[in-house]
Amino acid sequence: MRRITQDLLLGAVFSALSAWFLRALLLNTGVTTAATAPPLEAAPNWPVSAESAVKVASYEIEAKFDSERHRLEGRETIHFVNRSSAVLNELWFHLYLNAFKNDKTLFLRSPFGAGRSGDKAKQYGYVDVKKLTVVDGDGQDLWLKRDRHSPDDPEDETDLRVPLEHPLEPGQTLDLALEFEDQLPELVERTGFVDSFHFMGQWFPKLARLEPNGSFAHFAFHPQSEFYADFGDYDVTLDVPSTFQVGATGSRVNESASQGRTRLRYQAANVHDFAWTAWDRFQARSERIAGVEVKLLYPPHQQQNADAELASVRFALPHFNARYGPYPYPTLTLVHPPEAASNAGGMEYPTLITTGGPWYSTFGGGHFIDVVTTHELGHQWFYGLLASNEHAEPFLDEGFNSYAEAEALESRFGSASVFGAFGHSVSSTALNRLFSAARGADEKVAQGAADFATFRSLGAIVYSRTATVLATVARVYGRERVNHALGVYTRKFRFQHPTTADFLAVMQSELDERAVTALKLSFSERATVDYLVREISNAPLSAAAGVFDGPSGREEKKPEAPRKAAEYASRVVVYRHGVLQFPVEVALGFEDGTKQLRHWDGSSSTFNVDNLGPSRLVSVNVDPEQRILLDDDRSNNWLSIQGDPAPHCREGALYAAQILLGALGP
């Protein structure tokens, strides 16, 4: 009995101590000092920002929600202004809910899986437009004259042309009235339902964006593509069962209940889309952060995720305000979908973002919740306020936002921005560089979403490659200069639809010509760079031997007997492969312990590093501070001719093998 008690006590003490050490290890991120970003509010020379958007298409919508049948009945009035320079004879409507109508739509027919979420529809969804008339017109149903399918695609009904009865002159307005019915699909690509959870994105008939030249930027809903639309004001009234909690774009301005149903009215000014969610199990929290009313809807039992999400907003909202101009809306809604509806997570809409992750996401040193929340919040600038064409130039929002996300996360967590525990950390920059180096040169960055071979390719190139290009330019030419240039860009094109040319024009005015060239080549030409060294040469110097004819006649000098050289000639050649050119430092190490740093402007294809000195050159390291994240292969950046190159790995691998043998062996 004494033995049992003794063993129990010993085991309990060991277990308690083990638990303490485990907790301490989980909290040890390996980061001693988190980087901090200096506030930029006071930075000079910000351009004057627009206070509001030029409104082209504004919407008034009333929708009645049937949660049992997953249907919506809606009436919609569109106030449209022809802001272009051309006379319009037609309108283009995006009916993106039809992407889920059957397996032959552009969205669902790909044999390689549908879209970002990777799922096919399990129950189909669609939108039926019942009627389209001109308000105060002759009552003709314009919908009867629509094209029956998307251009050149008889199987798809997501991009439809409607001819106008009368031409619309530049500056003229047109009010249109629509009636429509939605059948929601089982959740696919952020739209639809899972049990009683519903998410309504791309749920109403919507006009394609009118470009200044009078053409419509219309496109069928492609599985790899996101969206593009005109700014306007939205006034949306939702009629929902009273048991449901609702989160939506904009501010709730009115609420009335009767007979088990609630009418909720939302208004959002200067936005280009409207999304909403309804679930009868949402928990809700709200908090005022940086002057914005932040509302968080999340599933039961996810308080820790909710805490992490609000903490992320508390840091990132003021941070992005300082970097990219103040968030202009009074509200921000965060939606954390339930685990079964995870496809609805990680998406951005004006003033509404969805996060996601299982209930244990905050355990174990990972920053998944912070990553997704910060990323989606960043989209309020790179998508929301800078409403670029996500179909034609997806890197302008996703890529720039990935850079902004990494910058914000690293300002908050230092190098542990993705993971930090057990004394080790993984940064967003390192992950972006990993994906960028793995696939970054496969395709061009600046191309349409539908042009990428696969969504994985798009992910690596649009998100990670773009962020790595910007991070490289920032590391080489100065982080504050590049961040300031981005701040100028975001302020100058606030409430607009900037293009690659607009971005490069700002960079041209803010950065060196070489930096702009690097940006252009990286985005448009699949340009790459790889710095490498192949060998280190050392030659002892001794007096020249041989036959010499001098003024005093012929003289023969014999070679000196071997001895320790008084001086060495050392050489290492650094090569640059690829067309990108970045200035780079080359660190030299000598046998006597001395070090030198040589600067190479990187413009030629080789750089001979020569040295005459008393000691042999024993090591070389090109780009020792790892500024050029675009460097294709870092394993060839250095050489050393001294010592065991892997003592830590040797020791660590031995220990790991001992542990495994202890666990698996007898």
Partner: protein
Amino acid sequence: MSDHTLNRATRLSTAAAAGMLLWISRTLLALLVSYPVLLAIRGSGMTNGPDGDAVLFQPGSLLLLELLRVDAVGLTAAAQISLLLLGLSAIFELIPLALALDLLWLPKHPLRERLTRALGLFPRFLLLGAIALLVQAALMLAASLLGAAFKPVLSSADERLRSIAPLALLGLGLFACGWFGGVLDIARATLVRRDAPELGVRAAFAHALLCLRERPFRVLVGLYPSVAGSALGLLSAAWLLTRFVPVSASSVAIALSFGVHQLAMLFAIGWRVRWLGAALELSAESD
């Protein structure tokens, strides 16, 4: 002669010798197991710089991820070879284990005789190990099947319960595996104690199960300090190193890492030896 007849000092020195024997054999085998992975890392070029492999452990893991990218194929192949070597080493380690048990039971035996006995026990130890592996695999399979069976029942439960329940069942499976490992040790101890070539694996297992029936708590609890002690050794070493010894190219950092890791290993082996001694006692008490 059994350890009951020995004084405390002799018992301690015998235990220390058994521990050293297990540590040395494990270290030599670990060198072999880790060698392919080490070769792959060195061959990747990622450690060829002036700071060697210290760069792989810099904050942010930029170059550690680069190692995984540039040498994914080489590392995967090396890991597979290391796994194979690990399996073979685990089998080979049965010989030092038999030697250690023999040493604990009969401390004054001549080495040559001890080695002959250990080699003679190897086939039966191997068979015992194979049976234990099968039983433990069956236990884990049962835990996993039970988890799958519970899935529909839990479909209406909240997502926390849905994810915790299968993990709890797997934990229970691991616990049962650990307990069965203790029974296996008693069966091994029985084989060593009786030293009769005619004593088969079945009889040894039967004796161990008898022991379990007679003293279930001692078998269950006896293994606890050994398992918890191993965990404590590993975790405290990790804490000490991550807290006080940052990875750098200096030889002092490497020497400290090695020292702390090996102390943790010796600590874990020490508690293992204590349990092996207890297993011999338990086996003897059920005779």
